[in-house]
């Protein structure tokens, strides 16, 4: 699904990713943890094709296609989805209008049949329900005046409708209350399937109680410095990152 080989990337002329390698197979859930500023969001942004994030070495393949050859919207059409750490507001553009444009473009590019207005509204309402968001939110401007937790749930709601092949969730758990965390986790889990993959960026083991990952990685200094199973997250929670980042030589990539 996703194959990242010795990826180097810079932001504003500064090297942030320094030889990152990661393989994510269909059906898998990977968790990426690591200290603040280690490059986790940078990785998700690079993969999604955000302006200003430049690949300076190595490559990232999405189902065998080099992502750097695709515009951000083409990556979306190819099944990539990023749930943002800080979802931005688009005043005056209703959530529903936004979803319509998004789904129209994406489903068309994917050769899926378009949804008529009735279907769209029905599906959107269902998706709202799944993440415990009042359908009234469909009428409001995209993320306009939403609380932090509502923004995160709104991202997941969109993800449920777009049914991406590869979902990158950047700290979707931060800002969620305990109930919302479970609701969101349930939503994400509902998307788990043999043909999809999920990459979770998180600081907290708690999320991983609900969305149990197949692999856990530690990103530090722009590289994956340690990988393991779900028990690695527990270990990190107890010991912090010092024992890994302090001795990067011994870490496995």
């Amino acid at each position: 699904m996703l194959e990242i080989k010795d990826l180097h990337a810079s932001v504003a002329g500064e090297d942030i990713l320094k030889g990152l390698s990661l393989t994510v197979k269909a059906g898998e859930v990977h968790a990426i943890m690591g200290p603040n500023g280690s490059g986790k969001s940078t990785l998700t942004n690079v993969l999604s094709g955000r302006d200003g994030y430049e690949i300076t070495g190595g490559q990232a393949l999405l189902e065998g296609r080099d992502v750097s050859e695709l515009d951000p919207e083409e990556r979306a059409h190819a099944g990539l989805f990023l749930a943002f750490q800080y979802p931005v507001e688009i005043p005056g553009v209703s959530n529903l209008e936004f979803l319509k444009a998004s789904l129209e473009a994406t489903r068309k590019a994917q050769g899926k049949e378009p949804w008529d207005a009735v279907t769209l509204l029905k599906k959107a309402r269902e998706a709202c329900k799944q993440v415990d968001l009042d359908p009234q939110f469909l009428k409001r401007g995209v993320n306009e005046g939403f609380s932090g937790g509502e923004k995160k749930r709104n991202e997941i709601m969109q993800m449920l409708l777009l049914e991406p092949k590869l979902a990158l969730l950047d700290e979707t758990d931060s800002g969620l209350d305990i109930d919302a965390l479970q609701v969101v986790a349930r939503g994400v889990n509902s998307l788990r399937s043999p043909e999809r993959a999920i990459v979770l960026v998180t600081h907290y083991q708690r999320l991983l109680d609900y969305i149990v990952p197949d692999h856990v990685h530690v990103l530090a200094g722009g590289r994956i410095v340690k990988s393991g199973g779900k028990e690695l997250a527990l270990e990190l929670e107890q010991k912090g990152y010092g024992w890994i980042t302090g001795q990067p030589e011994g870490a496995t990539a």
Partner: protein, 480 residues
């Protein structure tokens, strides 16, 4: 491609209405004098009083200095270079129906997407089309007359309804009101006249399409709308012009009279040629629009301004009567080298008067977009209220947005609220859209439309769709 480069490309799209129609015209040589005014007046067979009125305006105009306070830079207009009268030749004998209209003219309208025949039947809209300076097709007259509504050209009204014209022409915008209004009063060519009798709700939206077509021909429309007590009318004005190199002068005057309890809704979509990327060509648009609102009446101006090289325009309301309401909803989009200085004046004279101003300015390219608004509360206007919201959206880093609010309150009971914001279409917003599969062109037009929503919802349905399309076209460009 960087998003800045994309934005640049988006705003560089060509002017869709850029073509010149080949109708022959009968044009006066350039320059202005008493003789020219006599010629215009004579050509129209006007009564003596109107000629005198024009001449008085001309003499006032000669004494007036050119206004320089607007945030606009342009070479001085040489008023001796302007030609003050032109009429399509085939108009010497006024066509009795659209079938008699020059087919070239009709084709021009069709290119603009305004098939008159279709409009008559489908939309139920009466169209008084102004091509250059003379009205050529007036439709649905019979049906309107049945309701007692008068909708005709000003020239016709001068002959057919002299009392109404005498009473109201210049009653809202006096001859010597300002430089451009004085010029218009001296040489106005034609325009629309509307009268809605007492208690009548005009059975359809009234609409005029304008088109400037003669090189170097100033266009001096004059519109007068009188809504008698308790009546209602919605009036649509839409315009577009062919591509040209010379700057074309346009100085229109619109006067609205809302008698007690009447409501006038005046909507404009303006898409005159804005000039090219380097500021070559484009219309100079100096407009005076004003309404007087008597007791319990309401006047709403809604405008979507995307065209013209220079826009100087402040649709205003004088809230003369108690409990009268004035509204101004505006979207002004500037790109390339366009300059807009536009806004409104709300003059509160009556008690319990209320005004609302919502202005949305969108600037792109190297353009400059200014909001200029005056809210004046007179000493006897107890409990007057105003709400002003003034938002600017910048596309790119080379454009400018400015806000010049003037508040003059002479009554302590007044409640005046003013909000202003400036924002950019951010890279983050664009990236969110693209990550959800939406291409940047669509994303920008969606974001801009969202920004304008509060104004668009004030437009009549068909116009709102048109306005949305117009913004999309104005922002359109090949993105690869």
């Amino acid at each position: 491609m960087t998003s800045q480069a994309e934005l640049d490309k988006l705003i560089r799209s060509d002017y869709e209405a850029g073509f010149v129609s080949a109708v022959e015209s009968d044009t006066l040589p350039p320059g202005l004098s008493e003789d020219v005014i006599r010629f215009i007046s004579g050509k129209k067979g006007e009564p003596e009083w109107l000629l005198e009125w024009r001449l008085a305006a001309y003499h006032k105009w000669q004494q007036m200095p050119l206004p320089t306070w607007a945030h606009l830079k342009h070479p001085p207009v040489d008023f001796d270079e302007v030609s003050y009268y032109s009429a399509p030749k085939s108009m010497e004998d006024r066509p009795k129906s659209l079938d008699e209209v020059d087919p070239e003219l009709l084709r021009t309208y069709e290119k603009l997407g305004i098939p008159l025949h279709e409009q008559e039947m489908l939309a139920g809209v009466a169209v008084d089309a102004v091509f250059d300076s003379v009205s050529v097709g007036t439709t649905f007259k019979a049906k309107l007359l049945e309701a007692g509504v008068i909708f005709c050209s000003i020239s016709e009204a001068v002959h057919d309804y002299p009392d109404l014209i005498k009473q109201y022409l210049g009653s809202v915008v006096p001859q010597g009101d300002n430089f451009y209004a004085a010029l218009n009063s001296a040489v106005f060519s034609d325009g629309s006249f509307v009268y809605i009798p007492k208690g009548v709700r005009c059975p359809m939206e009234l609409s005029t399409y304008f088109r400037i077509n003669e090189a170097k021909t100033g266009q001096f429309e004059r519109t007068l709308i009188v809504a008698d007590e308790g009546s209602y009318v919605s009036y649509l004005e839409g315009c577009t012009a062919p591509m040209r190199d010379e700057n074309q002068l346009h100085a229109a005057v619109v006067e609205l009279v809302a008698l007690p309890g009447a409501q006038i809704k005046y909507s404009t979509v303006q898409n005159w040629y804005p000039g090219d990327e380097n500021g070559k060509g484009g219309i100079y648009n100096f407009v005076t629009k004003r309404g007087v609102a008597h007791e319990n009446s309401k006047i709403s101006w809604t405008q979507v301004e995307t065209g013209s090289a220079i826009t100087w325009k402040y649709p205003s309301v004088i809230l003369r009567g108690d409990n009268s309401v004035g509204e101004f909803y505006s979207v002004a989009l500037t790109r390339h080298m366009q300059q807009a200085d536009t806004g409104t004046k709300m003059i509160h004279l009556g008690k319990n008067t209320k005004s609302t101003i919502i202005s949305k300015g969108i600037s792109a390219g190297r353009s400059n977009n200014s909001y200029r608004g005056l809210v004046r509360i007179s000493p006897r206007a107890d409990n007057a209220r105003n709400f002003t919201q003034c938002d600017s959206l910048l596309l790119g880093d080379t454009c400018g947005a400015h806000t010049f609010p003037y508040i003059e309150s002479r009554n302590r009971s007044a409640m005046i609220e003013h909000e202003a914001t400036t924002s950019k279409v951010s890279d983050d917003q664009l990236f969110l859209c693209r990550n959800r599969g939406i291409d940047p062109e669509k994303a920008v037009s969606m974001i801009v439309n969202g920004f304008c929503k509060e104004v668009f919802k004030e437009l009549p349905m068909e116009f709102a769709v048109e306005a949305g399309k117009l913004l999309e076209v104005s922002l359109e460009g090949a993105v690869g």
